[in-house]
């Protein structure tokens, strides 16, 4: 019986991995094909090649710098979103005040407009205050796009935890802030971490704002850089290069998650031991 159960969960894992990775495999394998075999359907490239990857990083693309910019923009957005979002979510989950539902409703309502409708007014605004070609012109809008989901998620996660824990801590002499930091946050660590990952990915993949607010190559993000990849002639599509770029922007993200998963969660939880 335990044997069978074990086998079953192995199968489950395999199914999940295949589901998530099969199309990605196709992407990676397309990236490793030589440009001239780009549209083969063979499961393994007939000839392996780094050509697409070196094209991604070729001198005039500025892709390395673009990756760095993406890290800065997405990283800042994530930190700010978590900071601001946690405060707000705490208030919504733990404090008593009127209009709470209205506030929750208002926050979610900002996620109900097509994102394209924000662009031109913001462009006008940022042009007027000379924010074109700055990081904040990309971070602030991303923050606005990320906050509704983060606030709702964190609120849900905080509410999932029993109230009594916090109250007990406060009876023990903790301030409200201490109780929150040392009891709630560590217990909610998986939720907070997941929210952080989702925010980071969303900001990492943002394109429209980053494209419109920046016209200097040194400031462009990775998604914008990818949109500027070209084939040799203008009609031919740089499919292989784009797939290679997809691999390049995705794999570090996953590696990062792997490394930080344990560390961050452990760190957050450790804070709570005391």
């Amino acid at each position: 019986m335990p044997q069978a159960k074990r086998l079953l969960s192995y199968l489950g894992f395999a199914a999940v991995a295949v589901y998530c990775l099969a199309p990605f495999y196709w992407m990676a394998i397309s990236a490793f094909r030589r440009p001239q075999d780009q549209f083969d359907n063979s499961i393994v490239p007939s000839r392996w090649s780094w050509e697409n990857f070196s094209a991604v990083f070729s001198g005039d693309n500025g892709f390395g710098r673009a990756l760095l910019n993406s890290v800065i923009v997405a990283g800042t957005t994530t930190v700010l979103t978590l900071l601001i979002g946690t405060f707000t979510a705490y208030a919504l989950a733990r404090l008593q005040f009127r209009f709470k539902n209205a506030v929750l409703g208002l926050i979610v309502a900002t996620s109900m407009f097509p994102g394209i409708s924000q662009l031109v007014p913001l462009l006008k605004l940022f042009t007027d205050i000379k924010w074109i070609n700055t990081y904040q012109a990309m971070v602030l809008p991303s923050l606005g796009f990320a906050l509704p989901l983060s606030v709702w998620l964190l609120t849900a996660f905080f509410r999932q935890l029993p109230f009594e824990l916090e109250q007990a801590a406060m009876v023990d002499g903790c301030t409200r802030g201490q109780a929150f930091r040392k009891i709630i946050v560590p217990l909610a660590a998986p939720g907070v971490f997941t929210t952080a990952i989702l925010t980071f990915i969303a900001a990492w993949n943002e394109f429209l704002i980053a494209l419109s607010m920046v016209n200097k190559k040194e400031m462009q993000t990775a998604t914008v850089a990818i949109s500027k990849f070209t084939g040799v002639s203008g009609f031919d599509q740089p499919f292989g290069t784009q797939m290679a770029a997809g691999v390049v922007v995705t794999v570090p993200l996953i590696a990062l998650v792997l490394v930080f998963q344990r560390r961050i969660v452990a760190g957050l939880t450790a804070g709570g031991v005391k």
């Binding site: 998530c20 601001i84 404090l95 209205a102 208002l106 394209i116 924000q118 989702l198 990915i201 997809g246």
Partner: protein, 329 residues
């Protein structure tokens, strides 16, 4: 918007002593205002202002003709609700209802599939398992690939001579305007977004204290009962939030069908794509009207969703509040 203003207005003077043990209601109120104001401020600036500007635009028409020299006539004209009524007239009504039903179809199919697959994923991932952190990270992959790129990837997979047809031994013209195009979009979208639900449910699962299950086991509850009686109710808030935001996203879907199949394709045209088309042809008023109509539709669905399924996302807090107040009294 009035509520934002009120809230942020309430937020500004709260520079006073925020962190005194807020026993009194006044203190709690002030603390709440202080904690809420950054979020509301950002949202008011980044979303509120553009949206209001857009709403104003939807009441105006501009660029309606050429002058004698062939230049577009400048200035705008107050058009009242003309931009709105135009949506429901003639050819445009057909296009609107077609996009409306596409949008609804995509929402229903993808959200249901994503939820089922996502929850299943989370349950599998929650097992103790060697190497599970790698598998866990791998479920991030579909979500992490930029939509533009995964759209291209799927476009290639769904070519007439692509991997999908090779695998199925079929000759389906997925990327031509027609029903297979709808399927292609659903498949690509579900693949991309079920990890989103999976991750959030998994986070919810990880936050369930272990002793809850032990207690249940002592009570003799089987795995199936445990799932329905304990797991599901406890992850419900996270799941509902995840599903709600997935709905909001898919109702505004644009990138994926546009990259995978193309714009102006009847079978996959969504409401946002119509709004995009209007805007890209400089009919900003009309585009804003479509965006507003879409907003109303989304708001209605979200409201129904929260009322029917998610009452306790909000209601729970109310209950807690009452309990707390009673205790204090």
């Amino acid at each position: 918007m009035t509520a934002t203003e009120r809230a942020s207005a309430a937020g500004t003077p709260a520079a006073g002593p925020p962190r005194k043990r807020g026993r009194d209601v006044q203190g709690t109120k002030r603390l709440a205002a202080l904690l809420l104001s950054p979020t509301l401020l950002v949202l008011a600036l980044v979303i509120g202002y553009p949206v209001l500007a857009g709403f104003r635009e939807s009441l105006y028409a501009r660029g309606e003709g050429l002058d004698a020299d062939g230049f577009v006539v400048e200035g705008d004209r107050f058009a009242g609700l003309d931009n709105y009524t135009a949506i429901f007239q003639g050819d445009r009504a057909d296009a609107f209802w077609n996009a409306f039903s596409n949008t609804t179809f995509f929402t229903l199919t993808t959200v249901v599939l994503e939820t089922v697959i996502g929850v299943a994923m989370a349950l599998i991932m929650h097992q103790a398992f060697r190497g599970r952190s790698i598998v866990r990270a791998s479920i991030l992959v579909p979500w992490a690939i930029p939509t533009a790129i995964s759209g291209l990837l799927w476009r290639w997979i769904f070519q007439a001579d692509g991997a999908a047809n090779a695998l199925l031994r079929q000759e389906i013209l997925w990327t031509a305007d027609g029903f297979p195009a709808k399927m292609a979009v659903v498949i690509a979208e579900v693949w991309k977004t079920s990890p989103f639900i999976g991750l959030l449910v998994l986070a919810g699962l990880q936050m369930i204290p272990r002793d809850v299950y032990e207690a249940a086991r002592v009570d003799g509850a089987g795995p199936v009962q445990q799932f329905w009686r304990i797991t599901l109710p406890l992850v419900r808030p996270a799941l509902l939030v995840a599903v709600l935001f997935r709905m909001l996203d898919v109702l505004r879907m644009f990138d994926l069908p546009a990259v995978l199949i193309g714009v102006n394709q009847k079978s996959v045209e969504t409401l946002t794509m119509i709004a995009w088309f209007e805007a890209s042809n400089l009919r900003y008023g009309s585009a804003a009207a479509y965006a507003t109509v879409l907003f109303l539709y989304i708001a209605l669905i979200a409201y129904l969703f929260v009322k029917l399924l998610g009452a306790d996302i909000i209601g729970e807090a109310r209950q807690h509040g009452r309990r707390e107040r009673r205790r204090r009294a």
